[in-house]
């Protein structure tokens, strides 16, 4: 507060990096999930909230919860930090793994692969969803993203 004026500063919030991709953990230690869209007409499933089916163009869609566990379809390792405005830690930079994770619903989702030794990843490895804070934005909000990590730990 300054000069007796009520602070209009909004409370810091935990927010998703993008609306419509995943739900936020409802409590500390709680779990969010990936949001999916299933087409009632052709049964194709998508990651995220859609209004038109990308396959058959039907608008008869339902929101579903995608599985928390999938398998690495393919992956690579970023040996250099991504360009700005990437919000991860660049000093020191730890090479990051990224890949397509195949979910039982028949969709492959591009994702960071975390909590792993990047030299020991393999295709078909089982991975679990993690929704966690990735950075703090300019307003001090905690910004969350989805990631996957090997199920067995390493």
């Amino acid at each position: 507060m300054k000069d007796g004026v009520e602070s209009a500063e909004p409370a810091r919030k935990a927010i998703p990096v993008q609306e419509g991709l995943f739900t936020m953990p409802s409590s500390p230690g709680g779990k969010g999930h990936l949001i999916g869209t299933r087409c009632r007409s052709c049964e194709e499933t998508f990651f995220g909230r859609l209004s038109v089916c990308g396959h058959c163009q039907s608008q008869d869609l339902e929101e579903i919860r995608l599985s928390d566990r999938g398998k690495i379809f393919n992956y690579t390792v970023l040996r250099y930090p991504p360009p700005a405005p990437w919000k991860g830690r660049s000093e020191p930079y730890e090479p990051m793994a990224v890949g397509f994770v195949e979910l039982p619903e028949g969709v492959r989702v591009l994702s960071l692969i975390t909590d792993c030794n990047v030299e020991k990843l393999e295709n078909q490895m089982e991975v679990d969803l993690v929704i966690r804070k990735y950075f703090e934005d300019e307003e001090g909000n905690e910004v969350y993203t989805y990631m996957f990590r090997p199920s067995s730990g390493q």
């Binding site: 990096v17 393919n74 690579t76 969709v107």
Partner: protein, 381 residues
């Protein structure tokens, strides 16, 4: 549809030209193309400008510098496929008899360092780092390795070949041959792709004059026919091309490049077996292997055999990227696709100097860009 020919071509060297305005670079390429076509600027009836990183109305600004002659000018953009899109726009305007003579040119001056990902990706993708172009090339390369047994050495060999070709091209950014060791010892960027297996963003300009055979012959030019110029976007599901972040594990469609190539072969009544040279989007060395197959130049999984047997070298049955490709020329995005067209025009007219493909009569050019979209052009002399 009537026949469309290229009456003249012009090129500004690819590279870095600190302090040289893009208007000057583009005008040099255009003047060279006009001279090649034995035409005056005022004979041009419409212009299409391919660019991505330069400002809005780049085309109109360049044409104003050439002289105000009242013609319509359009900027055309589709990321790395911009040159293919601009060519198609010019092609259909002549084929459809809207104009008798049109200029198609591309120009680019890209910022140094990483290309800004915000042009291609959503903000959230940039924030979490899923916004690295070589990541997509690497994922495709690894899928090819898993499926067909290609190796990092194969990809390095593509880079050796293209850098060798580039050493014969006075317009290339890099005119220096590389060894396998140079490439394999250059820093790993995204497994399995090394730094010397990636094209550099840079600067350059290219211009082609499109017209009818009658007009070209009246000007005593050496016409090269555009059999067809095709632009395609994919069928579902989305290919692994930026900015896609999901795809289907259940449904498959032919790759985008295959869709464009099939349409081009059909429209041109030309098959892959009729081609004498190919300029394709070797944005990464591994991309050349993948696109060689997707263009139908060999069965799936056999591009590495073509490479091993020297088929794709200058002097082989089907030279690929005789110009040195994007690996030697860099990729000034707006100019790159039209640079391929200029190269093929020279090759088909026997004017490609030390990198000449002997007796070349038919060539195919290929660009793929974010979005994604793909352009394929077939030229014949």
């Amino acid at each position: 549809m009537r026949e469309v020919v290229i009456a003249g071509v012009g090129l500004h060297k690819m590279g870095r030209f600190e302090g040289k305005p893009y208007v000057d670079m583009a005008c040099e390429a255009i003047q060279m193309a006009l001279k090649d076509a034995n035409m005056a600027w005022k004979e041009v009836q419409a212009a299409y400008c391919s660019r991505m990183y330069l400002p809005p109305t780049t085309g109109a600004r360049v044409c104003a510098a050439m002289g105000l002659i009242g013609i319509p000018v359009w900027d055309v953009e589709s990321a790395c496929a911009s040159g293919g899109s601009a060519l198609r726009s010019g092609f259909q305007s002549i084929a459809g008899e809207f104009y008798d003579t049109a200029l198609v040119f591309g120009v680019e001056k890209m910022p140094r360092g990483f290309m800004s990902p915000e042009n291609i990706y959503d903000k959230w993708q940039c924030y979490i780092g899923l916004s690295v172009n070589p990541m997509y090339f690497a994922l495709e390369a690894r899928t090819h390795m898993d499926k067909y047994g290609s190796t990092p050495e194969h990809f390095a060999r593509v880079s050796v070949k293209n850098h060798k070709n580039g050493s014969y091209n006075p317009y290339a950014m890099y005119q220096k041959a590389c060894t396998m060791e140079d490439i394999m010892k250059s820093p790993l960027v995204c497994d399995p792709i090394h730094l010397l297996e990636l094209c550099a963003p840079n600067e350059g300009a290219a211009a082609v004059i499109l017209t009818t055979r009658q007009v070209a012959e009246k000007h005593d030019a050496q016409p090269v026919t555009i059999c067809t110029s095709v632009v395609k976007t994919p069928l579902y599901p989305a290919p692994m091309i930026p900015p896609a972040f999901q795809t289907s594990a259940k449904i498959e469609s032919p790759p985008l490049t295959t869709l464009a190539a099939r349409q081009a072969y059909e429209e041109a009544a030309v098959g892959p077996e009729d081609l004498d040279l190919v300029e394709l989007q070797d944005v990464a060395a591994s991309s050349e292997i993948i696109y060689t197959e997707e263009l139908g130049l060999c069965p799936l999984g056999e591009a590495t055999r073509l490479l091993d047997e020297g088929v794709t070298e200058i002097g082989g049955r089907l030279p690929i990227n005789a110009s040195g490709g994007l690996l030697s020329n860099g990729e000034p995005i707006g100019a790159s696709g039209l640079r391929q067209v200029v190269e093929m025009d020279w090759q088909l007219r026997g004017q490609a100097g030390l990198r000449q493909v002997a007796g070349a009569k038919t060539g195919l050019g290929h660009v793929v860009g974010a979005g994604p979209s793909c352009g394929v052009v077939i030229l014949k002399r």
